[in-house]
Subunit: 275 residues, 2 copies
Amino acid sequence: MEVRELTYFVAVAEERHFGRAAARLGIAQPPLSRAIKAIEHRVGVPLFERTSRGVLLTAAGEVLLEDARRLLEASTAAVARARRAGSDQPRLVLVLKPGADGGMLAEVLREYEHAPDAVPVDLHTCGFREHAGLLRAGVGDVALIYGKDPDLAGLDSEELFREGQILVVAQDHPLAARPSITMDEVHAQPTPLWTGDGSVPRQGELPQLVALGRWIHLAPISAGHHLRRDVAAVPVSDAPELPVLLAWPEQHRSKALASFVRTAVDIAAERRSLR
Amino acid sequence: MEVRELTYFVAVAEERHFGRAAARLGIAQPPLSRAIKAIEHRVGVPLFERTSRGVLLTAAGEVLLEDARRLLEASTAAVARARRAGSDQPRLVLVLKPGADGGMLAEVLREYEHAPDAVPVDLHTCGFREHAGLLRAGVGDVALIYGKDPDLAGLDSEELFREGQILVVAQDHPLAARPSITMDEVHAQPTPLWTGDGSVPRQGELPQLVALGRWIHLAPISAGHHLRRDVAAVPVSDAPELPVLLAWPEQHRSKALASFVRTAVDIAAERRSLR
DNA sequence: TTACGTTACGGTCTCCGTAAAAATT
DNA sequence: AATTTTTACGGAGACCGTAACGTAA
């Protein structure tokens, strides 16, 4: 099974229409039709049910679609990683959400510079829940992830520590002056609480909306250090602790990466013991 | 990057020689040389250092080799799985070492027959530490694995229970008559203890060697039920408990598989609570 | 009749194999 | 001189696009 064929298959599977799929692939329908037929012949089972309004996936097609998506992702990731590994000055790409640095990133970077097998670290910022995808796509080598149930498929990870949460509200919000607050109170107050569900906001949009009093949201304590001036943070006494993870592609432990992970884990352990 | 190209690359990387790689691929050297050059051009970095005695992998080549092996494995697995999913009578293939049934397999199979979404279960036996490979290759859907540190890359898993161990010795071994024994005694006695390191024995070879008094080995308690007549089992009071895992390819939870896992987990939990 | 997928056909592009050449020990 | 990789060249096969054809709502 060639990746060109997988690309064709995924296009048809996602468009559920040979014509649209061909357009998306930039080819004519007939070659696409032939290619799919060839695949089905080779696999030995039909992957689509042809109807006069388009196509439907068979059970086998559903199974293949899952694998095919992963394969395509992995194949582009493979060349991306090889390319970076072969560049003159190898670097480590750390993926993180802006501001979500766990309050220890600066120290980790400082320490890592002097570690054995260290290489320069590039920071690649990303949006909500994009970490795993970027690692799997070969864009990044390692990611710093906050969250309860992150998507770790195909990744190895290590928990660095857990962190309490603060509520971020507009400066003139009724809760802004409180020294502390409970989860019940968070849910009881009227301003909507941003949960990350639904549409992903553009970069920097959420702080803006919070400052305008349209939303409030929870954040890890360490994020409180670099909030906008026009918002306030209130400790939430009984908020669940957020795990802070370091994650990297499965079995991709270059020396540079292993050394970075070790440095971060050591510093995290040290900080835990200080508390 | 096409999988044909990856196949070529892996062949050269593993043979470290264009000529041998070409022979293994069943093609002539020149097309192979061209193909590799094309790949290197596309990736943008050299993957091999050509010497007059063959080739060496560059750092980028090493990185790509890891990914390429996984990709090839995954691509064959994808069609294998799709083919099985599309067969007229879908089945669930359970991979396990002969005898390593956790003492509960019969009950799980019996129970599963009546579970919702159940399909017929095929048993596929395998050798020492072959489970993961067979799952990744798409040969099996789910595996029953004993062991402390199994290879779970690319797999999801669930621990069913933990089991104590017995020492399996020849019937006329000095320890055969003991009601119980400690790990210290196991290590102190003279017959070599088989640890699974080194060469993998042929199927059924180890029991033979144990019966002949050439080796002794540890086994989970449940394996004691189907030992040869000419060996004896002695409980080891302080042996570390062996985890018994159910594992399956990451994110491949068909209804049939999910139902099987649930059945097994439920029965395991029930047995734990009975103790 | 319209919208989709499939066959038929001809051209092009890629890939392969044989043969000769370059490079390194 | 021998071994190994690379370049040159000619042919076979794969893939694509246009056009014509089935087929179901």
